[in-house]
């Protein structure tokens, strides 16, 4: 949805290896590659892919994440696929009778960032589409990642699981604030510009007989000022508002307020 693939922007590389254990559909491998590259992950390993590798069915769903597909490495077993790594987490449903650290995707992202920063080679294991990871393979992982979801409907497909883990990885390294006012080409209005707007509006309203009760005028003024303050106007928007007042009153804008 957020538009765009921009080959001139630097691709953010590094981060944990994604390991798919016995993936079945080539399409899913392609969608996984796309979700990985969306989040700056590029190393994909496949353990015994059912339909072999390379698989041309992966190409379309990868939507251009061919660099990930081109770099895929295939292994005969999960043990061999993680042999050179130092810290590995595995996504699965909550294990019933195993003593194991369980992380949320956010907790996993933090752990992976910490280990990566310490120089450890890291990986995230995903089981096959139909059965997930076998219990026998869980002890290979340092920790389990379990995605908190609606308990009545908690089944995610393979690419969605990868997307959520990869998304949390990317967010854990992002310094974009949770909320910011984007003002486009204009600056946020100065207090002087706002004050001029308040004065002008209230002056015009006074002339028009808007404040019928002298007693209530101060509270009406406060309410109007709060309303306009809350809109967090830009400098350009205070000018627009001055123009609106001029148009509504049938007057020319006062000189110097253009």
């Amino acid at each position: 949805m957020t538009s765009g693939t921009n080959p001139r922007m630097p691709s953010i590389l590094g981060g944990p290896v994604i390991i798919l254990d016995q993936p079945q559909l080539g399409e899913n491998i392609g969608t996984v590659a796309r979700a990985m590259l969306n989040c700056g992950l590029t190393s994909l390993r496949l353990v015994s892919p059912r339909d072999g590798w390379p698989n041309e069915r992966a190409l379309g769903p990868a939507s251009g994440a061919t660099s990930v597909l081109d770099g895929v490495r295939v292994y005969p077993s999960l043990k061999e696929a993680i042999a050179d790594l130092n810290y590995v987490v595995a996504t699965t449903a909550r294990p019933r009778d195993m003593a194991k650290e369980i992380l949320t995707p956010k907790g996993a992202a933090k752990a992976l960032r910490k280990k990566t920063a310490a120089g450890d080679a890291c990986g995230i294991i995903f089981g096959c589409e139909r059965t997930g990871l076998t219990s026998d393979n869980l002890p290979l992982a340092d920790a389990i990642v379990s995605v908190p979801l609606n308990p009545a409907f908690s089944s995610l497909n393979l690419a969605q699981s990868v997307l959520i883990l990869a998304y949390e990885w990317f967010q854990s390294g992002s310094d974009i604030p949770e909320s910011q006012l984007h003002t486009g080409k204009s600056e946020v209005a100065s207090k002087a510009q706002l004050q001029a707007l308040f004065d002008r509006l209230e002056g015009e309203l006074d002339e028009a007989g808007f404040f019928t009760s002298a007693e209530q005028k101060p509270s009406m003024q406060r309410n109007m000022r709060n309303m306009l303050q809350r809109a967090r106007l830009t400098a350009q928007e205070t000018n627009t508002f001055q123009g609106i007042i001029s148009a509504l009153t049938g007057k020319r804008k006062p000189a110097g307020n253009a």
Copy 2:
């Protein structure tokens, strides 16, 4: 991946309405429904779906989220689709020249939680697959949600965008800790059980002549204790470890340590 659809578990309902503006493919509407229900969202509105509604192509990809599909409401325009709501955010790429609050998905989830808790009816708007939201429609939203992603490859498909927003909504209401030790059926070992294990191991190693240097014995003991401490053994596992020592030394386990 996380296994399971369990009709006996209560479905977590409520939360913001998801509004798809002019969606094209029925399959995508189905995948959106699935991602929504995964995260406890159930109200889906469609604005002028290209292929009409209902659309049987949505059924398969919904993977059983038929309750969401059955409740779909269709509107002729985005304005009408949001008319009864109080707070609405729209997902889109960063607007170029518009003064607008921009939220991350996590920031949006927090804002939506706050508004929902205050009794406001909330919604999240997603543009069509090909072009996203038009600039003309952005002013309808209180804020913009932009997903921080690899700037070189930032294009998400419709269902993935919905999944990320819905996922953050669910997480913002979840009290599952980022990391926890799941111990299955057994309790974490008591310090007394650990101490008994340390004493036994060190005693056996003493007998076996493991500590060749009396000088280094204290630091070797400390290292072994730290290693076992770090494993955060369960009560059951200390018993298993006692059994391992017995087996390796060829001795019967001492009575009372079963």
